[in-house]
């Protein structure tokens, strides 16, 4: 029997009561704010039956410049058997923007985390090959940070 969304959220609340900061609903989407230390445990817990959130739909980051916990990692998980999407959010400090990598669990996290590293400068502990995905080697700064100017130009690099 399919498990309802309420039941999943209830189970999560019970199991990870210390690590879940807040649960909200916006425009019909469920958002779960978690502590960044608990990310791996929660994802591992949800990946197993009966929840089977086996697909990492999306992984991205948001820059809230000016706030102490500046970066917010956003994870979209999807369960094929339950047909449910869940969104997890974890805040990172500006001077310690590091979070555990999901590459051991989801293979597409490899590229998605490289993209976030490229665009925001967030580091992922345990990532096998953290290299810029879109920008070239030698590019300075992280373009999607709010303090990176829209029209900034970088000097041309030499052909290698």
């Amino acid at each position: 029997m399919a498990i309802s969304k309420e039941k999943i959220l209830e189970d999560l609340k019970q199991k990870f009561s210390d690590n879940i900061l807040d649960m909200t609903v916006q425009f019909g989407d469920d958002i779960i704010h978690i502590k960044k230390e608990a990310l791996l445990d929660i994802v591992n817990f949800l990946k197993e039956d009966p929840y089977a959130f086996t697909m990492l739909l999306d992984l991205t980051c948001v820059d809230y410049q000016g706030e102490e916990e500046r970066f917010e990692m956003v994870y979209h998980l999807f369960s094929l058997s339950l047909n449910q999407r869940l969104r997890f959010k974890a805040r990172l400090q500006q001077n310690d923007c590091k979070i555990v990598s999901l590459t051991p669990i989801f293979k597409n996290a490899n590229w998605l985390e490289r993209e976030v590293y490229d665009m925001f400068g967030v580091h992922f502990a345990g990532h096998p090959y953290l290299r810029r995905l879109f920008m070239y080697d030698g590019f300075e700064g992280h373009p999607l940070r709010k303090d990176y100017p829209l029209r900034k130009q970088q000097p041309k690099i030499h052909l290698r």
Partner: protein
């Protein structure tokens, strides 16, 4: 920093570049290969050659202006991108398009999907040596683009789907054009089935090459035809029905082995399903709220402005957003949500309410302002789940916009699945993945 492939290189192997200017790499991807003879023992992909900073641009554009950037994501099926973006906004604004507009959207979406699959397969077949199939499929696409052109006024950069509905109604003879497009596409599909589906050369290069199991596909976050080719039944149109897809009768073709041939076959069958859907929509679409004849009689805009100085002109005005005669009477059928739509031009030019609502839409700091919050909405794009994740801070610009590009997840798997295959296998494998540079690199 040395590339991973250089770090891991073994003694006595050859490192070779494929792309970014290799014709089979579609111009925007570089594959680095470590070869032992003809066998690939290691592979690394480099991309970003088409990176235009889509997400950064979006943070600095208003919600209305951004629509044109979504055309340039997946440039083979721009209408699906438009729909995805607009429906995310509609989800935040809490408005829904009128029924006729929803049918128009579905018809154009399904035709876009056919275009997308046609282009992907045409390129794939051509790279395997079947140039005839390429030409045939381009021919079919041309018939579909006739309808697109007549309706949207553009072949690629359509920007046709608007918040609250669509930009204009179908032209008066759209059913004829659609009928021709469907029939010609069916003919082409039959021909291509005959040319490719049992072709020994094609089968040798695609059957049991680059097999992807369903577990691997799910782990990589595959969606769309590529996921379905591994036998997983997931389609956004069925799982999270949007528009009028829940009222249409269609099947989801599934593959069995998850090899290149299955990815080809699933796309071929999906096109037939899309054409079926268009036929159903043609029968079900509600009548337009006024006659679909373009208005040719009426005042010229300049005369109307002159006349409006003394009193409100009674006669109709020729000018309209699509330059085909006024469309004001059609608005109830194709647009809803008064605050978020561009008012008809004759209203803007001749009465104060129209002028005010026009300015309210385009002045900076006004316009479309979704409430504070965030939303994720996904549509079924040509190559998978196309999701928009928008964070709004209550102003007319998004605080953050993220596009979930389906082909990023699919192409991410290439490194792993070509390993152990031959060099020549990359080409049909990469072709079957339907890599779209604009969407991959954003």
């Amino acid at each position: 920093m040395k590339y991973r492939i250089q770090q891991e290189a073994r003694e006595g192997t050859m490192l070779i570049n494929m792309g970014p200017s290799h014709p089979a790499m579609h111009g925007t991807t570089r594959v680095m290969l470590e070869l032992d003879g003809e066998k690939i023992i290691n592979c690394e992909l480099e991309m970003g050659y088409l990176h235009r900073g889509f997400e950064k641009i979006c943070e600095n554009k208003t919600f209305f202006n951004m629509l044109i950037y979504t055309d340039r994501m997946n440039y083979v099926s721009p209408l699906i991108n438009n729909t995805g973006y607009v429906m995310t906004l509609e989800k935040m604004l809490g408005i829904e398009a009128p029924e006729r507009a929803q049918y128009i959207r579905v018809i154009l979406n399904e035709f876009s999907r056919v275009c997308d699959h046609l282009t992907a397969l045409a390129a794939m077949c051509m790279e395997c040596g079947a140039f005839t199939v390429f030409l045939y499929m381009m021919k079919a696409r041309e018939y579909i683009w006739d309808l697109m052109e007549q309706t949207t006024g553009a072949r690629m950069t359509t920007s046709f789907i608007r918040v609250g509905g669509v930009r204009s109604d179908f032209p008066s003879d759209w059913k004829k054009t659609t009928r021709i497009a469907i029939d010609e596409t069916r003919k082409v599909l039959k021909d291509c089935h005959g040319l490719m589906s049992k072709n020994k050369i094609f089968l040798n290069r695609t059957r049991d090459v680059a097999i992807v199991t369903s577990e691997l596909a799910i782990n990589y976050g595959w969606t769309g035809p590529c996921l379905r080719s591994t036998g997983v039944n997931y389609d956004v149109r069925k799982a999270f029905p949007y528009l009028v897809y829940d009222q249409l009768d269609f099947e989801i073709p599934l593959g069995e082995r998850g090899d290149n041939f299955d990815r080809y076959m699933v796309r071929m069958q999906e096109m037939e399903q899309s054409l079926r859907m268009v036929e159903q929509c043609m029968a079900k679409i509600p009548r337009p709220s006024s006659s679909s004849e373009p208005v040719t009689k009426g005042l010229e805009p300049a005369e109307a402005i002159k006349a409006s100085r003394t009193k409100k002109p009674e006669e109709r005005i020729k000018l309209s957003p699509n330059l085909e005669g006024t469309e004001k009477e059609k608005y109830p059928g194709i647009l809803s949500g008064k605050k978020y739509i561009v008012p008809p031009k004759e209203d803007t030019y001749t009465n104060i309410e129209g002028l005010i609502s026009h300015f309210k839409l385009f002045m900076s700091g006004h316009g479309i302002r979704p409430p504070k919050g965030e939303a994720y909405f996904a549509v079924e794009g040509g190559s998978g789940e196309l999701g928009f994740y928008i964070i709004s801070d209550g102003t007319d610009k998004p605080y953050r916009l993220h596009l979930r590009a389906p082909c990023l997840h699919i192409v991410a798997a290439l490194e792993e699945i070509v390993r152990g295959n031959y060099l020549a296998d990359i080409i049909p494998t990469f072709g079957s993945m339907n890599m779209i540079g604009g969407e991959l690199d954003r």
